[in-house]
Symmetry: D2
């Protein structure tokens, strides 16, 4: 950590801060330039409250040298984490495909789609039972009934299930039915939910928030890991920008950045990133070419009657075409 003092900061204030930092267990190196005095701190600076230092009238700014995450950091854990669920691996160098409808709408709908995606090579079945919706007047998901249908689909196909958990109140029940628990973009900094997820035995699929930096995503993973659950899968699903043609701006750079900073697997969700089915194929391929460990793809046998996010769902035949393209890419990776 580096503390930059304002030009003209009195010597006694600088010394006061120096002493305070030493008392917190840091070694302090003072460097006096022409205009600025700079204090370089060595030691466990994670304990230091940056805001307290910045509150000083004579402090210009505080620069961090180290990333604030540890358990999620590749620096302290160089080998890739491989998450396993029912024999399916995520993060082992292959591309794991999670596919299915946005929402579970009926047994017939889910079964039709589940068999369709399995036939084309999907490894994990996705489907929402509890749905976060911008409007209180939109379909909010089938709830526990949806979870039961997901369980049936798992029994019929053998595919493990990933589904969203929205709150502490329904955590236990979702945990009972699902194999991987998804925490959605809007909940990425729902800290009580993250803590609860950290106590779960299930792997957590953590989606990046709409305006979360990659560092904040890794800090949210850190919340889960700090409670003991190290099976965290990260997911890039687009961030919010000024561009309006796509629903979000898909940040494909997040894939190599996360590979650099962390040992956790990173998958992408091109369906939510763009909100347009015609963009799913090129962005899925871009993700795989950039090194993603997996993809989450929305598939619906009749998108035009889907109760949620039909605009971004692939029909099974388009999904089949995408899978053939992905296979070719994986072969040359």
């Amino acid at each position: 950590m580096v503390i930059v003092m304002k030009p003209g900061a009195p010597q006694e204030i600088i010394e006061k801060i120096e002493k305070k930092m030493i008392s917190l267990g840091c070694e302090v190196h003072m460097v006096q330039g022409a205009s600025y005095c700079v204090l370089g701190l060595i030691g466990d600076t994670n304990k230091i409250n940056q805001g307290q230092i910045e509150a000083n009238d004579y402090v210009e700014k505080v620069l961090r040298v180290q990333h604030p995450f540890k358990l999620a950091s590749r620096l302290f854990h160089p080998e890739n984490t491989v998450v396993q669920v029912d024999g399916v691996k995520i993060g082992d160098g292959n591309v794991t495909i999670m596919a299915g409808p946005c929402s579970v709408e009926s047994e017939e709908q889910l079964m039709t789609t589940a068999f369709a995606v399995q036939r084309e090579g999907a490894h994990i079945l996705r489907g929402g039972a509890f749905k976060p919706r911008t409007s209180p007047y939109s379909f909010q998901g089938m709830g526990e009934e949806g979870l039961k249908i997901l369980r049936k689909a798992k029994e019929a196909t053998g595919m493990p299930i990933v589904t969203e958990v929205m709150c502490q109140d329904t955590f236990d029940i979702v945990e009972e039915y699902a194999d991987i628990l998804q925490i959605g973009a809007r909940n990425m900094q729902n800290f009580p939910l993250l803590k609860r997820a950290g106590k779960s035995q299930r792997p957590i699929l953590l989606k990046r928030g709409l305006s979360a930096t990659i560092e904040e995503l890794l800090m949210s993973a850190e919340y889960i890991m700090a409670e003991g659950n190290h099976n965290v899968i990260l997911c890039e699903r687009g961030v919010r920008t000024f561009e309006t043609y796509t629903r979000n701006t898909f940040d494909v750079s997040a894939v190599p950045v996360i590979k650099e900073l962390s040992h956790l697997p990173i998958v992408t969700d091109p369906s939510h990133a763009t909100g347009k089915w015609s963009m799913v194929d090129p962005l899925a391929k871009a993700s795989v070419a950039a090194g993603a460990d997996g993809l989450i793809i929305e598939v619906h046998h009749q998108p035009e009657v889907a109760l949620c996010d039909g605009a971004q769902s692939l029909k099974p035949e388009k999904f089949a075409r995408l899978m053939r393209g992905i296979e070719k890419l994986v072969a040359i990776r």
Copy 2:
């Protein structure tokens, strides 16, 4: 709602969509241009699932004419909502001041600050007991003990209390102690929390999310109101942009925009918006000049030892100076 068909969309598809819309209770007006065929819908289009329409291969886009919120809309409720708590009004044309420390840290700290802000004219005491923090290693708040100290401060000063509620699990207890319940920026789209807030008898102070549009903020208010709680106070606290000198970019336009679109009171939080105490005074004044119904100001008697957000806290003497400036502004509004 306006449906724009792709150029060259087959007549039978257009008619199919037309019939579907009529079956949903809409009147449909077809307008055929040189390249585009456009369908104008009349009726309660809130029931229509926009994604289903956009899922059609021949639909170019869907444009909404009406805002999706109703209970929060000034269109259906032209008079200003005035929220009252313990005799303090918010939204009645005056500027209501909520002030206090970011976090409750001790009885002595809160009492000192509480008396200081009251002396300078604050109406409501703020202070966090449950704190959302980006890092799991940061101070997370005193919890129920903090609530008890807030209660004592209320008894000593007579000022009502506003404090954050972070999750369903601790909702009941926060509701028991606090007069106004704050839902923080990161929870603006925590829909189960919003629904629970909608069942509360307490007014809700709802903060705008870091990358939430004003429409989304109003949709989150709609969630609360749809459950029966119409006492919602909105709060602008800065949005996330590319600018790094301030922590967030304070969107002062949100004040007049919300006045135009909604009847709910709108207050601002210049402390969180910038993260710098030196910016609080000018932005507070800008808010009042733009028509804000109130301000939330962080005050700490010793910011340099604050456990949270010290960098943005005003010392009591700076708060006093700010209050004198606000009073002059209110006098000429």
Copy 3:
């Protein structure tokens, strides 16, 4: 174009606007809903001044149905444009590689890099002679001397040259030496420069502005095309967001979006998008997988002594590895 009137707009105002639109050559369809009256316009709405309509106190908003670009639009020009220069094609389904240093620094530097990139399969040599720099104190490029060195490199290698043109004053001279003229991100809406480019016989490589929407990029292409030059190559090079780990956020979606909206070729610049050499390889591959027509890659034989943007330059051996990866991707596209 759709005009949405405010609820309660007087009938006479609506009729006044209707008449005005008819007088401008439009057919007007009025649709009266419960709260809103909507006017649907048919005809050449490009002539209509949207701001004039919105200036009316009773107009809520104006929605556009059609994109505002025509010459750049795939709707009116369904086949792909293929730009040709010295036998090299851009937009014909292959991936055209433009590579070289950020800036021309000396004859030795350019020649070394030129031969290196040619050996690995690059088609076009890039190199800046006039450099736009954020600071007036940074190296501003070698100017005409740099152009002469580029010319020598072309003579030695046979590769055509792409280089930036920064202003009208130096347009003629850059045009004399270069084969493709690049207009940089900061000049994307330098309209006099675009008009001048439209009068050139040289193909123009137009980079997307830091915060330009895709529609605005296409409107800038329209400026060039409207003056008669239809050889425009578009370039995605990252947009500005809140994320700070990468210099910009690379919007890979721009590739398929532009393929959908326009017939012009689209290439990407992963070097400038991220500002980090370690990100160039994955983002270049992502671009190709998403359908890009070409890549611009910064290569420097000694990045640590580069006068400009060394942090994002590949060494020749890393460029060679990237080229092998790209070739495999092209083979399966």
Copy 4:
């Protein structure tokens, strides 16, 4: 400047960088932490090419301590700069009002508006003769004829003129007619134009780019000042964000931030910031309350027939009301 080495960087590389920095005239302080080695540099680091250092495979990142601008910095020039033109001062503690139509459309239009704004207390007349427009098919301004009309309005009213200069080619002619030369947001980083402006005797009104940081705005001012012209007036006119209700997001914080960082006057343009006339009044007041040195306000006697930006123009009677509000605010500032 602080260089952070990657964990595990070899000692010889660290020493090589150290020597290089010493050879560039810096004093280097090495601080070795548990994971990171950090080099603190003292001396004139503006000469150091940050990219060259970052190009090193073992460098994690480079942190800057000092702002990169000097002439524009308050640190080296503590007193406020006051710009004077024809007896009108900008930056002397008062609020200078620049008002007039977006574009000059005819002598009658300009004269009507000029007398109207003067009557209400405006100090400077604004009006565009050369107009940057997103579409090549929009009205591009009257050019020199417009300048002549502006000159007539000046002769009739005595008010100095501010008008936009778009390029080098027309610089001389605009300079001949105008008193203050405006450089628009899209040209904020048109460096040849900035250099030309730096050679002018006229004050320059420099608008912040749509996605420019405040630091970049000050660096653009530095370009002008480095050429000898120190009469630069900065202008906040909204930045681009995800919010769509307003055209841009007006960053009122820019006012106090610039007051802190620079000695140059800062004015705001609430008309362009929002694109909506109903927002101009509250945002103008917010600007003044936050400490702005002036305002640029679009006024048109018939906005519904304005050839440009009618939606954001105030009618004279609304401008009069705004002026009365501003006067009250100025009185208590």
